[in-house]
């Protein structure tokens, strides 16, 4: 991971001091809530149903074991002993007190963790592929560029009061695990015909009330020009994005209203004025950032070590290995996904004890590094294959070895009405019930890869629009109802799901999902045709018939 130096640490500490002063002025009455609200949001502090919620940044989803332990400490000391990992690679604490926040931030600052700009109308956490740096076939580590963007966007004086929030995501793999097409700016790192490294730049992706898939604004921007080009986009948005209506204020609306060609022209005109200015990224600067990223000294290890051969007789271990262990760019190593979706549990939560234990496991088995994915699971990115059996035993004891990664019970859900003041309906109990219905691993494997996404309201923090099955909580006559969509996807073939019919009540949702799955099993062309491909082939109609025949 990136090693903060004294310069980075100074900035984080200065931010904590500033926030401490702002809290003091709020509590003395010198600042009204109207003046304070945007300031606290810019430090990740929300007010939710029961309490304040604190959203802490995990830049591009990378943590050291020391940092994970400190996250556990905050959960224990200032909250109720657990945290929630989000769809933007951040962590949220749900019960934190305003008076405690400056101290919590100071504790986090000591290990280089901050909460800057995790909310507010500014540029948010730059997210990436949780397998960055270790995925086979990756062009280069996108996190170098994510870190350059993080620094560039942090406390940017021109862009701290945008019309609305602004989210970046970056990938360097053909298979997009970072969902770049549903971000305000999506970046695909690749090499052009001349072998130069650069970015396809997409703009205007986003979900919520008016979902859009991002459009390519420029097929190739050289690495050297990344920051100046981003600045041009942000400047056009800052000046022309709507400020009269919060539902029309995202850049996706501006791009839609101008059209991508006109928008691209505006950005190009602005960019040409500044492209050779102070934002040029010369090789030396990029190399300096690259040099601060830690890469393990991998050993030369066999792909099939004895430990693995011996453990192959253990059916439970094998079930987990086949599900949660992924190919690594280095022979003899593996990427291990840690499922935070236990049967009956709230998706994406981890207790302080689990976090501490996982930090120890990371030290022993993963060179002290952990990753956070937008699907609300964690990963250990550098595990030697010979260590898999021992690691599994330890994870299993901690409840972190549910072999359901990418399967029907690996559900992405927002906190919903149990926590969130924006929600219309609950999402977590729906997820819990679904994990119980599909708890059988044979069944789940039979079904195959199937992403269910649940959002408690149209703000779509659960990314329901791009779920293979999407579930959206709405309110009807004071009761919780849910709209169901199918056929969405968030990867390089991103598309929005299609509504199958009228909203169904809370008590029916799990039955409806079972009906959809049964329809899929009956209709699929062969066992390895994925759910999302069957929907593409057949459309919504056969599923609608099945679900609404008796409703």
């Amino acid at each position: 991971m990136y090693a903060y130096d004294e310069i980075d640490r100074t900035l984080v500490n200065e931010r904590v001091s500033e926030f401490r002063d702002q809290v003091k002025r709020r509590l003395s009455g010198e600042l009204t809530e109207d003046e304070f609200k945007m300031l606290r949001l810019q430090n990740g502090v929300y007010l939710q149903l029961h309490a304040y919620m604190f959203r802490v940044a995990i830049p591009y989803g990378t943590l050291s074991s020391q940092q994970l332990r400190r996250l556990a400490h905050v959960a224990r000391r200032y909250d109720r002993g657990y945290g929630h990992f989000t769809t933007r690679q951040n962590i949220q604490y749900n019960w934190i007190k305003l008076v405690d926040l400056p101290d919590a931030m100071a504790d986090l600052a000591e290990v280089g963790i901050h909460a800057m700009q995790t909310s507010g109308n500014n540029t948010r956490n730059v997210t990436s592929d949780q397998w960055a740096g270790v995925a086979p076939g990756e062009i280069e580590d996108p996190r170098i560029w994510a870190e350059l963007l993080r620094q560039y966007t942090t406390l940017h004086p021109e862009f701290s009061f945008l019309p609305r929030k602004f989210k970046f995501a970056i990938t360097a793999s053909a298979h997009d695990r970072a969902a770049i097409k549903i971000h305000d700016i999506g970046l695909r790192l690749h090499k052009n015909a001349a072998g130069e490294t650069g970015f396809e730049v997409l703009v205007g992706g986003g979900l919520g009330r008016t979902p859009f898939i991002g459009k390519t604004i420029k097929p190739f921007v050289a690495g050297r020009d990344l920051l100046s080009y981003v600045e041009a986009i942000l400047r056009v948005y800052n000046q022309y994005g709507r400020r009269d209506n919060i539902y029309k204020a995202r850049i996706k609306i501006l791009v839609h209203e101008l059209g991508i060609e006109k928008f691209a022209q505006e950005v190009e005109a602005e960019w040409l004025e500044m492209r050779d200015g102070a934002l040029v990224l010369d090789d030396e600067v990029v190399e300096d950032i690259r040099s601060r990223f830690f890469y393990p000294a991998y050993e030369k290890l066999p792909h099939m070590p004895d430990e693995l051969k011996k453990a192959a007789h253990d059916a439970k271990f094998e079930a987990w290995r086949k599900n949660s262990v992924f190919l690594h760019r280095e022979q003899g190593y593996a990427i291990v996904t840690i499922s935070l979706k236990p049967v009956g549990g709230p998706p994406g939560d981890a207790t302080a004890e689990q976090m501490d234990a996982l930090a120890d496991l990371a030290d022993t088995y993963s060179f002290g590094e952990i990753r956070v994915g937008h699907e609300q699971n964690l990963a250990l990115p550098h595990v030697a294959r010979r260590d898999l059996p021992a690691l599994w035993k330890a994870l299993d004891k901690l409840g972190l070895a549910t072999p359901n990664v990418n399967l029907v019970s690996d559900i992405i859900a927002c906190p919903g009405l149990d926590y969130c003041s924006l929600a219309n309906a609950r999402s977590i109990p729906i997820a819990q019930e679904l994990t119980r219905r599909f708890a059988n691993h044979e069944t789940a494997n039979l079904i195959g890869r199937l992403h269910i996404n649940i959002s408690g309201c149209i703000n779509a923090c659960g990314h329901h629009h791009v779920g293979h099955i999407g579930i959206l909580g709405v309110e009807k006559n004071d009761e919780e109802f849910y709209q169901i969509t199918i056929g969405g996807r968030a990867d390089e073939k991103a598309e929005l799901g299609h509504l199958i019919g009228p909203a169904v009540p809370y008590g029916d949702v799990a039955d409806v999902v079972e009906d959809i799955v049964e329809a899929y099993l009956a209709l699929r062309a062969q066992p390895d045709e994925l759910f999302v491909d069957t929907v593409k082939r057949l459309g919504v109609e056969p599923f609608r018939e099945r679900v609404y025949a008796t409703r």
Partner: protein, 103 residues
């Protein structure tokens, strides 16, 4: 964004004013004694739009003590005050799911 005082106030039954406490975010209810309580039983109950507006106005004026006051419905049964919808039920009794650890 319209201030809560400028929004049209419609009361469909007995209602209260609720908010979150500034220092720690705790759920609080406006009492008849011009202060706040964490107990729903001590909330001032209003039954008409202008009563509600007045209660809301004095609550909003306490910018130091409370964040985001708004009017919420209640149910009265057997002389006890109960939350009038699921959202207020959750605010009063907490999340409907088991927490990963005992609070």
């Amino acid at each position: 964004m319209t201030s809560p005082l400028q929004q049209k106030i419609k009361i469909t039954g007995p209602s209260i004013v609720t908010a979150n406490r500034t220092s720690d975010g705790a759920v609080i209810y406006r009492t008849a004694a011009k202060d706040w309580s964490t107990e729903l039983g001590r909330a001032a109950i209003v039954r008409a739009a202008d009563e509600a507006r007045a209660l809301l106005a004095e609550s909003v004026a306490d910018d130091l003590g409370a964040v985001g006051p708004y009017i919420a419905p209640v149910e009265l049964s057997d002389g006890a005050v109960k939350p009038g919808n699921l959202r207020e039920q959750i605010r009063l009794s907490g999340v409907t799911i088991g927490l990963p650890v005992q609070a």
